[in-house]
Structures are given as C-alpha cells and as structure tokens.
Symmetry: C2
Subunit: 321 residues, 2 copies
C-alpha cells in the first residue's frame, strides 16, 4: 500500500486479509419502510458485525499490516467507543498486547467490553486532549504503535471493505448513504463504490448538531468545529481527518444532515418493526432516506447501519422523550 | 390433509404453500454465547419473520386451506397478540375479510398493528371467555370461519414448517429447544424434526409460572391450570390444545422450565450482544441452554426465538428491574 491515499487494490487486499474473520454482514429490508418511503432500501447491518460495529474492519487491517517487530511491542489507542473495542479485539486475534486509553468517566459497560477483549485500560482525564497526551506518553515509553481511528490509509482501506461488500451484494444500487464521523467509513466505502460502480451516488450523512463534514464539503476546505452537539456519539469529532477529507472531495457526491429527533424515530422503527438494535450514529444514514425523501423515491438505495453498541438503559433514555 | 393429526406430508405441503410469502428466517450465532455456554448454538430467528413472529406460518396455511365459499364469508379470531396480527396479515394476503376480537384494555400498539394489516377490530370485555363468546357470536351471525390459535391440524402443519427449515439449515442438529404456549409451534416442529432426523432431541420449554405443558407431559394427561403467572405473555394459556398434547406425547423428548429472571437476562443478552429484539416468550427456549447447561454442553443445539413483538417502553420496564 502507498503511504498516502489508498487505492481499490488496497481495499481488495484488505478484504482478503479479513475474509473468514469478520462477517459479511447481511442486507436487511423492510416492506413497511419501503412502502412508507417509496424506495427499495437495503440496510447494510454493520450492527451485526463483530464487536457490533464496522470498526473491526479498519482496526484489524491496520494491525495485520504491522511488522513483526511492531507487533511484538504492542499497540495503543484512545477511544471509549467502538474503535477501542475494535482495536482490542483485533489485537487479541493477532495475539499482541493492546492498551486503550479511556476517560476517567467512561461507562463501566464500555470499559468492561474493552477489557473483555483482553485489552489493558489506561485512564486519563476527561477530555480527548487528555487521552491523546496520555497515549503519546505511553507510546514513547513502551514503543507501542498507535492505531488511529480514521486518518490512516490502512484504516480507510479496511473500512472500505464494507463498500466492496455492498456492490457485491447489490450490483445495481443507485445511491449509498453513509454516516460520517471522522470520515474513515465514508472515504473507504466511497473509493470502493465509485471504483466498482461509477454510476452510484455516494452520500454522506451527519446530524445537524455535528455537521462539520457537511460544511467542509460545501466550502471545499477542512473545517474544524469548537464543539458539536448531537446524540450521535460517533459524530462528535470536531472535524474529519485530512486524508479522509481529501478522499471525500474526490469520491463523495453529496452530504446531507438530519435532526436528532429523526434519528430517534429511526431507532424506534428499527427496534419495533425490524427487531434490531441500532445505536444513534448507526441510524443517521437511514433517517436521511425519510428526511430527504424526495431524492430517493423509486430508487434502489443502501443505507449503512454503522453499529449497534448501546446499553438498554441509554437506549430507553433516548427513546422515551 | 386428514381431519385429525397432521403428517409430515401436510407440513411439506404447507411449506410449498408458504414459499415466497413468508421468510426462511436466518440462524443467528454468537461466539460469546457459545463460549459462555460451552455449546454450538443456533438461534432460529422467527422474530425476523413477517409480523415479527412464527404465527404467520400457521395462520396463512390455515387460510389458504379454506374453500372459496369460506373465503368469501371471511374469517375471525380472538387474540390481542401475535396470532391476531398473523391472521390479519394472512387474510389481507388472501384478500379476504378478517375480524379480530380484542379485549377492551388491549394496548393501542397491538390494536394499531392489527388494524394496520387491514383487520376489523371487535372489542369484548377483558377475559378470554368474553372474547371467545363474542367471536362465536359474530361467527354465527356472519358465517365467518374461526381461525384458532393452535389446536388445529392446518395451524400445526404451518408452524411445523419452522422445524422443516431447521433440519434443512442444520442437518446434524442434536437438540432443538422450542417454547410452549398453546403447543402449536412445538407439535408441528416436533413432527417435522423427528420425521426428518429421528436422532434429534426435541425439548419444550416453559417459564416456571406457566408450566402447565410440563405438568401435562410428566403426568401424561392434559392438565388445565386456573391461572398462570409469567412475563412470557405467549405462555399464559391455561393449557395446551388437545391435538397439540397428543402430538407432544408422541414426538417431544422432554420438557424444561426456566425462571422469568433468566428470560430477562437472555433478552438483555440478545439486545446488548446480538443487537436483536426478542419478546419474553421468544427468549424462553434460549434461556434454557444456560439454566440447564449441563444437558447441552459440547452439543450442536438450536433454540427457536418465537417472536420479537414488544414495545420499547414494555421492554425497558421488564429489563430495568
């Protein structure tokens, strides 16, 4: 792989490396959703992926690309969310040491899940800066390799395998909607989709309270926010990554936003009608099919459900309002 | 079909009649569940079936067996639960009139779902006797055909198609666990399973507070309770059906019970680890693999998830305790 922007070959190589270890997640459908939205929609169910989110794709591809010497020293990352669990599992699968830096106020459920995959937890303050500093410090001290969450060609190529699966599963898909946090998933998937099916429209979706990527896309320069405000915790990054932004500008056709309230309605629909658990970020792309319905009518559409990691209590707290 | 006990041929004919209309539901697996239980378990996901439960299999098979004259007069049933929705959808698919008798205190969500499938709702008191009487009255008045919930050869043959799918999907399954309410699912599935794979053990599961079928099975006579007390609303019947009991005595190997608390833990596991929504009755068979673990260790086991119809609020109320 080149040191810079990944290519479709890198994604295909990643797919070979991941085959038999990660799941080829199913495409789910709902007659009711289709009837209500006048679409033919397929939900790419990465909530049913190992660790409950697409993040294992990138983390495992990255870790498998390390040299034996790097592997022997171990890896580190900073995340209380899906990327932390993904890195922990990927490291365990490769039988290498893993440290995950978490905030002091991380939920027990997140901490337990990450420890459950065999990672060591280091705690550091409550801000992302605290965690980054602590991770860098441990990295210097022990020679760990940092596994970044999105701004990395191996991570992007790994996430792109999700896009490759989509074109293999629905060869005539007309539009694919992808949630945008740091941009790892959309940059990899957009490259895969456009390479294999140039006619497909690739659309990124954010919530209104965290629309930094949308602003970056429209102004054609990488915008960094001071803060974001959304229930979609996977979208609380203040900006997308540099490499992710470059790739988005090349391969993504459009960006959309949806209100948090529509994300919640979508989560309820997934629960009550489709019997699946979807975390807020995971419901954002699907919600856009309803919110921006006129764009998708009579089309064959795929929305990526990025993950399903949410506790019962948090789920209910969101939905009861 | 004979007027009495259905045969494997009846189930195979039902499968042909239902093909392309109902889903062949997937078998789901969890590495974590297998590691914790020392089993190789497959969950038959009837919560992902149309109407969110297996009940559409029997209702549609029954309705498709009616004469044109019977169809022209319409059908009636009494159920505020999955059988009501199943009958409503089956009738709509066959383009015939359907009335569902519900208690006055039925939840709006149940009423709306049933109406959503195009059925007419008739209300009658709050007891099952009230509903039965009202249904019989309407039946006499309008010549409707009653679609019974379980004690009927066509209903049983329809539910048995679920068992047929299981042997087609895992040809070397060693034990199949099936929840028992009125006995429609287990009697049909046991016939299918034993006919196709005589070595398989078929095990019925109930909650401790509604173990009438377990008692009937052990005492070898049909027991009728005065009341039951369980969170598993699909098991609140006071007894299994006559035909169902006869078939259970012939084809079922054993019966087990589980406490409600273990059903709740199982629902939590399905939600948090497998990202699927399972109603209480739907989690009963799976819970038995944990509660009676010694019997299933190192075995290839299938547990039927009978349904996933539960509102967000009810789900949380159960799990928060």
């Amino acid at each position: 792989m080149s040191m810079n922007s990944p290519t479709i070959t890198d994604i295909e190589e990643a797919a070979s490396k991941l085959a038999g270890i990660i799941h080829t997640t199913p495409l789910l459908t709902s007659r009711t959703f289709n009837a209500q939205s006048y679409t033919n929609t397929f939900f790419k169910a990465e909530n049913l992926q190992r660790i409950g989110a697409f993040k294992i794709r990138g983390a495992l591809n990255k870790i498998r690309s390390l040299s034996d010497e790097e592997k022997s020293r171990g890896v580190i990352t900073f995340s209380s969310g899906n990327h932390g669990q993904a890195t922990a599992l990927a490291a365990r699968l490769e039988n290498i040491k893993c440290t995950v830096v978490m905030p002091e106020d991380a939920r027990d459920s997140k901490r337990n899940a990450t420890q459950g995959y065999g990672a060591e937890i280091a705690t550091a303050g409550t801000t992302s800066e605290d965690r980054l500093n602590r991770a860098m410090e441990l990295q210097r001290q022990f020679g760990y390799t940092l596994i970044p969450p999105y701004d990395d060609p191996y991570i992007i190529a790994g996430q792109g395998t999700c896009g490759l699966e989509i074109v293999n599963q629905i060869s005539d898909v007309e539009a694919v909607l992808i949630p945008v946090g740091g941009g790892g998933l959309i940059s990899g998937c957009a490259l895969a989709l456009k390479s294999k099916l140039p006619s497909v429209k690739v659309i990124g979706v954010e919530t209104e309270g965290a629309d930094d990527a949308n602003q970056s896309f429209r102004r054609k320069k990488l915008i960094r926010y001071d803060k974001t405000s959304t229930i979609a915790d996977g979208m609380r990054n203040l900006s997308v990554g540099t490499l992710n932004f470059e790739m988005m500008m090349r391969y993504v056709d459009d960006m959309l936003t949806v209100p948090d309230t529509d994300v919640i309605s979508m989560m309820r629909f997934f629960f009550e009608r489709m019997k699946i658990v979807v975390e807020p970020t995971g419901a954002v792309a699907s919600a856009a099919i309803r919110v921006h319905n006129e764009r998708f009518r009579n089309k064959k559409v795929c929305a990526v459900i990025s993950g399903g990691n949410i506790g019962v209590g948090d789920f209910f707290t969101l939905l009861k309002n």
